[in-house]
Amino acid sequence: MSWLTPQVIDILYAMFQAIVILLGAVLLGAVMTVVERRLLGLWQDRYGPNRVGPFGSLQLIADMIKIFFKEDWIPPFADRKLFMLAPMIAMASLLLSFMIIPITPGWGIADLNIGLLFFFAMAGINVYAVLFGGWASGNKYALLGAMRASAQTLSYEVFMGLALMGVVGLAGSFNMREIVQAQEGLWFIVPQFFGFCTFLIAGIAVTHRHPFDQPEAEQELADGYHIEFSSMKFGMFFIGEYVGMVLVSALIVTLFFGGWQGPWLPPFVWFALKTGFFLMLFVLLRASLPRPRYDRVMSFGWRVCLPLTLINLLVTGVVILLDTPG
């Protein structure tokens, strides 16, 4: 066994971690589709899907079989290349972002120095999924949805970045591990409360979850940019949305709630519990809020959230400067 040097074992272990985290993220996204429907049922005083298997636990498998065996149809008027590319970008860009999230002190794929910037880059690429999907469909509802989505995502990405700069300033690093370690004594939710609020709003808007799902509004746009997609192409958009939800929850936990830190329980359990809490919050928001009008969403972003993040950043800067000795 001469080739089994410590170096090779390290590489194999890193690959094993990466595969487990990848599968975990996709599976969690898939499971969330069913959990969300059950929870929506609970909060709206009805049952939700409870027929397949005990308590509807096999609903996910039924959904998967249905989606796999549907006809994978490409409309004759569609732009074939971009039509096939769009769902891939939707899922891949969000899955790649899981690379930077430190799950426990020992677990996590890449320990990038530019960690947070990598997430912004992937979020920027993710816009193309919706844009190309809507345009390639050759359908006016899809195009309108894509227009809305890209304008909304661009506006909200502006202050999503600014909202996190307070955290970066306090931690003094873009590296996610160092950000978690900087929260040893005090979670960043306390000094960066406004940063947290705006990041939560921006995170919901960028993954176009309810109440920011105007791009897909059923009653106006008949599902928006993914109206022409069927079978697994739709499945990738669909799972991609839930993967985005998991990603934003994990990011909020890492950046504002101390990541894996917490008393008594092992680090992984703390991380999972906190992430689970924010996933529930996403569903609760969908269950309880109506969908605002599109122009209201845009003006809320530019007139309320952007000034708020700027003031937050200014005050954080002043505090950091006053705190610095000498």
């Binding site: 732009d79 290349k81 971009l82 590319l85 990038l112 120095n113 530019i114 910037l117 990598f118 912004f120 880059a121 979020a123 920027g124 690429i125 816009v127 193309y128 844009l131 190309f132 809507g134 345009w135 195009l143 894509a146 227009m147 890209s150 304008a151 661009l154 990405e157 970045g161 122009d295």
Partner: protein
């Protein structure tokens, strides 16, 4: 890392060629995005991950989105493809290609001559020299130019807003 450098450099060149010879505007833009991401990987390989990340965030993630957005609103269609194809005839691209070749030749000759090539001005201006000049003696002018840009932005927003009566219409719908 050298392999990554050369591979992504090759991808960047091929994708940029695709931008120039492509006839479909949206496909050309996709090629340009690929080219920008390839350049970002070149930055990573050179050991400048910060520049690479900013390249993706600013160019691929923001500026190109606006390009794609505008092209999609224009809704070009088959006619535009035909027109592009006409423009790619030999007699249209021969002269620009010849001019570019002259520039390429000049660049190669200068590179071959190395640092020894005498500049006309006698010395080379570095980025640092430009920076210290701009934010040293010319600081006031730079700030004035910034204010001019801000004034332009305010004017554009004023020109682009809805007239008062139409705005009232929209309020009525609340």
């Amino acid at each position: 890392m050298e392999l990554a450098f050369y591979l992504s450099g090759l991808v960047a060149i091929v994708a940029t060629l695709g931008v120039i010879v492509g006839t479909n505007a949206v496909h050309s833009l996709l090629n340009l995005i690929v080219s920008l991401i390839a350049v970002a990987i070149v930055f990573f390989a050179l050991g400048a991950p910060f520049a690479g990340a900013l390249e993706v965030i600013v160019y691929a993630g923001a500026i190109m989105v606006l390009f794609v957005f505008v092209v999609m609103i224009l809704n070009l269609g088959q006619g535009a493809d035909e027109q592009e194809r006409l423009w790619l005839r030999a007699r249209t691209w021969l002269l620009p290609a010849a001019l570019s070749l002259i520039l390429l030749g000049t660049l190669l000759v200068t590179l071959a001559a190395g640092d020894g090539g005498q500049m006309i001005g006698g010395r080379t201006l570095t980025a640092k020299a430009v920076g210290t000049t701009l934010f040293g003696p010319w600081l006031l002018v730079v700030e004035l130019a910034a204010m001019l840009l801000l004034a332009g932005l305010v004017t554009a927003s004023h020109v682009g807003r809805l007239p008062r009566d139409r705005r009232d219409d929209r309020k009525g719908g609340d």
